[in-house]
């Protein structure tokens, strides 16, 4: 085997390996941005929303008023839970411990946008969108799960359907990119 070919083979293998590793990292990276988060308390959405009928906006009340929907404070939880016996439920005992230590609960946001994207809940809620349209049927979930990729194509798929008369504004880069 001539010297050139002998050198070329391992080099090709190395390049192929490199491409595979980069591709894998890209795929995993994009997935992990929307990964299922480990929450400080295993909060059960289905019990609160489906069984007890608590509206989303009771806990995520800023969705009507601001950019971020907000995550409930310890006081909000305790508004009801100070009256409820934790029993042998792990989640309720965890909550009671937070209340005892008067420590804020560090909820982990599930649906996040990258830094170069501006998103505000207010215009979406005011336009009459249901929370489920983007966040899935959270009432059927225990811990909230991320929904799909929430990427630009996904945003535009609604923007062009829901409000064709406002498409100039809703398709403008500057509306969402800051």
């Amino acid at each position: 085997m001539p010297l050139k070919t002998r050198l070329r083979l391992p080099a090709l293998v190395l390049i192929a390996l490199f491409v595979v590793v980069v591709a894998a990292a890209a795929v995993l990276g994009s997935k992990s941005a929307q990964a299922q988060a480990e929450q400080p308390i295993a909060f059960n959405h289905s019990v609160h929303v489906e069984e007890l009928g608590v509206p989303c906006l009771y806990c995520h009340s800023n969705a009507q008023r601001g950019q971020s929907a907000g995550l409930p404070t310890l006081e909000k939880c305790q508004g009801c839970h100070s009256q409820i016996d934790p029993g042998d439920s792990q989640a309720l005992q965890d909550l009671a411990r937070y209340a005892e230590e008067n420590k804020p609960i560090q909820w982990v946001p599930v649906a996040l946008q990258p830094d170069f994207v501006y998103f505000s809940h207010r215009p979406h809620v005011n336009a009459g969108l249901n929370c489920e349209s983007c966040h899935g049927d959270v009432g059927q979930m225990t811990v909230a799960e991320p929904q799909g990729d929430m990427n630009m194509g996904w945003c535009l798929s609604c923007h062009k359907k829901l409000a064709p008369e406002r498409f100039v504004k809703l398709s403008d880069c500057a509306t969402c990119h800051k």
Partner: protein, 237 residues
């Protein structure tokens, strides 16, 4: 590019009021997370200002006066920077009628800056670090740009967006003077006025009709949205 430049947001700068204090430059940098490159990098031509104060001398010594002109992106209706961008990172916003830069799309060819007659664009040569607690000063409504992309004045698009959203949530039109870019807000002499040029009754429209009005390099046909007011020498008043 459209056949006729439509008008929406515009700015009037009264040069007879400007005293060159640079408050607008500071306010702009803080509002838009623009880094401070320092003396050495500035000497290499890597300075980063979205707005600069040009200084002129008027008269002969000893009767000499300094005159100042704040210059930022002129938000051209027919912008020379737009058609040269190979990736459409700079484009004309149809909704806002201003020239917008999409940072996450820019690949840093710098064609736009080379084609800008106002030298209004700055190239970001650095990855910025904002060690704790300085990161707290960053404006969350503006991207912290990375190295290798072009940036420029956006008429504080984040403030326009917020003003329009507030008005829409309250079911009303944006009031005149409700939206102010950081430079206009910071100007102690009230030399910078921002508003809607499409509304003939807005403060900016009334000032733009002044006999003192002039535009930079108007002969290029760039249809700029920044109008300067300038009348005689400051000694005449």
């Amino acid at each position: 590019m459209s056949e006729t430049a439509q008008e929406k947001w515009g700015m009037v700068i009264d040069l007879d009021r400007c005293n060159g204090c640079q408050a607008c430059v500071t306010a702009c940098s803080l509002e838009n997370n623009v880094g401070f490159v320092g003396e050495e990098s500035a000497a290499y031509g890597r300075g980063m200002h979205w707005i600069r104060i040009q200084r002129y001398w008027e008269g002969e010594y000893p009767n000499i006066t300094a005159r100042f002109r704040p210059v930022m992106c002129q938000q051209c209706g027919h912008a020379p920077c737009e058609p040269v961008c190979p990736v459409f990172a700079t484009y004309h916003s149809e909704a806002e009628q201003i020239n917008v830069q999409v940072y996450n799309r820019c690949i840093g060819t710098r064609y736009c800056a080379n084609n800008c007659p106002y030298v209004a664009r700055t190239f970001n040569w650095f990855d910025w670090e904002w060690p704790e607690p300085l990161n707290e000063q960053l404006n969350p409504d503006v991207t912290v740009r990375r190295r290798g992309i072009m940036e420029k004045c956006t008429f504080c698009i984040q403030r326009i967006r917020k003003g329009e959203e507030d008005a829409e949530a309250e079911g009303r039109e944006v009031a005149d003077g409700e939206i102010q870019p950081a430079c206009a807000q910071a100007c102690p002499a009230d030399a910078i006025v921002f508003g809607n040029l499409a509304d003939p009754e807005s403060r900016v429209s009334r000032l733009a009709r002044s006999a003192r009005a002039e535009k930079l390099l108007e002969e290029l046909g760039t249809e700029t949205k920044v109008i300067y007011l300038k009348g005689g020498s400051s000694r005449d008043r």
